[in-house]
C-alpha cells in the first residue's frame, strides 16, 4: 500500500478504500449512490541529473522519494548490498528494491540509460500531495570507470517546494568501501575496461562508505591501472536540478 508506483495501482488502492467505507455504513436503510472518487492530488518532481565529469559515464540513476528514516548510506557505515551492487556494477535494481521495502520510502524511479560526460537525463517521480510533509529525495549513481565510486544526494528536503519551484545542487563523490580501488584490468565495468561489475567479496581497506580520494591512474604513477588521466575527477561531479512540476 505504501509503494504507489503507477496510477493503476493507485486507483486500485483508492477503490478498495471506498468499498470499505460503504460497507461500514450499514445503519443506513436508503440506497446511496457513491459519488465518483475525485482523482488524488499528486505532486510531481522532475529530477534532472547532469554529468559534470570529463570521462566518467554515470550509471542509470536511482531516484527515491522518502521520509526521514531512510538513507542511501551513512558515512562510516558499511554499504547495503543494494548500494554495493550499484557501486561496483552500475545496477540500481537492488538499491531500488531495498528502498521500496523500507517503511520510510514512498516512491522510486530509475533512469533509462547511462548518462555520458556532458549528458543529462530527467527522471520523474510522483507522490501523493498528502505525503509532501517531510518529503525527501535521494539520487544515486555510479561513476562507471572506477572500482566503486558513487555520487548523488542523500535525503534533500523538498517538502517546502511549491509547484513551479526548483532546487539545484551539486554532488560529491563517495567511495562505497566495498571493493579495493586497485583500478586493475578486469575490475572496472565502464568502457575504460569492460571488466567485472558486482562481486560479493568486500576487499577494500575498510568496509564503510567515505569520501572518494579520486583515481590515481597510470598517468600518475599507478602502472597497473587501466585508467588514464582522462578518467580523473574532482568534486562536484554531478549537478542535480529538482523541479516540482505538479
Amino acid at each position: 500500500m505504501r509503494f504507489l508506483k503507477s496510477t493503476g495501482q493507485l486507483a486500485l488502492v483508492l477503490g478498495l478504500a471506498g468499498f470499505g467505507l460503504a460497507a461500514c455504513d450499514n445503519d443506513d436503510t436508503f440506497v446511496r449512490v457513491t459519488p465518483p472518487t475525485p482523482p488524488p492530488a499528486m505532486a510531481s518532481f522532475d529530477v534532472t541529473v547532469t554529468n559534470l565529469t570529463n570521462a566518467q559515464p554515470l550509471s542509470p540513476v536511482a531516484v527515491i522519494a522518502h521520509q526521514d528514516g531512510y538513507s542511501v548510506f551513512t558515512i562510516g557505515q558499511a554499504a547495503t548490498i543494494g548500494l554495493e551492487t550499484l557501486a561496483e556494477g552500475g545496477d540500481n535494481s537492488m538499491l531500488i528494491s531495498e528502498a521500496d521495502a523500507d517503511v520510510s520510502a514512498i516512491a522510486s524511479a530509475s533512469g533509462a540509460a547511462p548518462i555520458g560526460p556532458a549528458g543529462s537525463e530527467t527522471v520523474t517521480v510522483e507522490v501523493l500531495e498528502s505525503e509532501l510533509p517531510d518529503l525527501r529525495l535521494s539520487v544515486s549513481t555510479m561513476l562507471v570507470n572506477t572500482n566503486d565510486a558513487i555520487s548523488g544526494l542523500n535525503g534533500v528536503d523538498v517538502s517546502g517546494l511549491a509547484e513551479g519551484d526548483t532546487w539545484e545542487g551539486h554532488t560529491i563523490v563517495y567511495d562505497a568501501g566495498t571493493e579495493a580501488n586497485n583500478e586493475a584490468a578486469g575490475t572496472i565495468p565502464g568502457p575504460a575496461d569492460g571488466g567485472e561489475g558486482f562481486n560479493a567479496a568486500r576487499d577494500d581497506r575498510d568496509d564503510r562508505v567515505v569520501m572518494h580520494i579520486g583515481v590515481i591512474t597510470q598517468d600518475d604513477g599507478l602502472a597497473s591501472s587501466v585508467l588514464s588521466g582522462q578518467h580523473r575527477f574532482d568534486n562536484p561531479a554531478v549537478m542535480v536540478r529538482i523541479e516540482r512540476t505538479d
Partner: protein
C-alpha cells in the same frame, strides 16, 4: 504599530534583540575522509568582524601552530580575548577517518554571532579544515556546511613524516593511521603561495620505502570537502 506607546515599542525591540543573540545549538563534525585523522578541533562562536584566519592573507603565528602541529592553545587565547564561546577538543583527542563528534554551545548573553571550526589534517605538513566565521543561524533547524581543506602556506609540503610539528620545523608530525612509508626524498619545496589558500592536495607515491613522498597516494589523498558540519539550532 504606530499607535503603540513608545515604551511598548522599546520593550518589543529589546525582546527581539535578545532572542537574536540567544542561540543554543549543537555542532556535529563528521570526518568524511578515508585516510585522514584530525587533531583536536577548536569550535568557537565569536563576535562579528573577527576571525582566526583570512583566506588570501598570511597565517597568524597561532594559526600556524594549529596547522603545523595541531596546537590550538594560542588560538584559544586569541578567542578568549574576544570573549568568544569556545569548545575545545570535543572528540577527546584525534578524530579518526569516518568518525564524528559533537558539542553543544550556548551564546546567550554574548555578542558571538559567527562560528569558526579548525583542526589540522594528519598526515600533512600544514593542512587544516576551516569553517571560517559563518553567521550562526538563529531560526530553529538543521544547517549543513561542507568544509574544504586549506593550506596555511607556512611550511613546505615535503610530505616527510619526520615528527616535525613545532612551528617552523619541517616535516609531518605523524600518521596516526600507520600507513605512511619512509625514506622519501621530499615531495615539494616551499609553497608558491605563502598565504592561506585552498590546499592542492597531497601527492604521495606508491613506494613505501622511498620515492619523493612518505605518504601513500592510494590512502592519503583527498578531494574537498573534507569535513561536514551539521549545526542544529534549538
Amino acid at each position: 504599530m504606530k499607535q503603540l506607546p513608545s515604551a511598548m515599542f522599546l520593550v518589543a525591540s529589546l525582546f527581539s534583540a535578545q532572542t537574536a543573540s540567544a542561540v543554543d545549538f549543537n555542532v556535529r563534525i563528521i570526518n568524511l575522509s578515508s585516510g585522514i585523522h584530525y587533531t583536536p578541533f577548536l569550535v568557537a562562536a565569536h563576535p562579528a568582524g573577527t576571525s582566526v584566519f583570512t583566506v588570501g592573507m598570511p597565517a597568524s603565528a597561532n594559526l600556524q601552530a594549529m596547522a603545523e602541529g595541531g596546537d590550538i592553545s594560542g588560538l584559544v587565547t586569541d578567542l578568549d580575548g574576544l570573549a568568544a564561546t569556545i569548545a575545545e577538543n570535543p572528540a577527546g583527542g584525534l578524530l579518526a577517518p569516518a568518525a564524528d563528534t559533537n558539542v553543544n554551545l550556548n551564546t546567550d548573553g554574548t555578542s558571538n554571532e559567527l562560528l569558526t571550526i579548525v583542526a589540522m589534517l594528519l598526515p600533512t605538513n600544514d593542512a587544516f579544515a576551516g569553517l571560517n566565521a559563518v553567521p550562526i543561524p538563529t531560526d530553529p533547524g538543521t544547517y549543513v556546511y561542507e568544509v574544504p581543506a586549506y593550506d596555511a602556506g607556512t611550511e613546505a609540503n615535503d610530505e616527510l613524516v619526520t615528527g616535525g610539528g613545532a612551528p617552523g620545523a619541517a616535516g609531518i608530525p605523524a600518521d596516526p593511521g600507520g600507513l605512511a612509508g619512509l625514506g622519501g626524498t621530499g615531495a615539494a619545496t616551499a609553497d608558491a603561495n605563502p598565504n592561506v589558500h585552498i590546499h592542492r592536495g597531497s601527492l604521495g607515491d606508491l613506494d613505501p620505502a622511498g620515492g619523493t613522498s612518505d605518504l601513500d597516494s592510494s590512502v592519503h589523498r583527498w578531494l574537498n570537502p573534507v569535513i561536514r558540519v551539521v549545526v542544529t539550532v534549538r
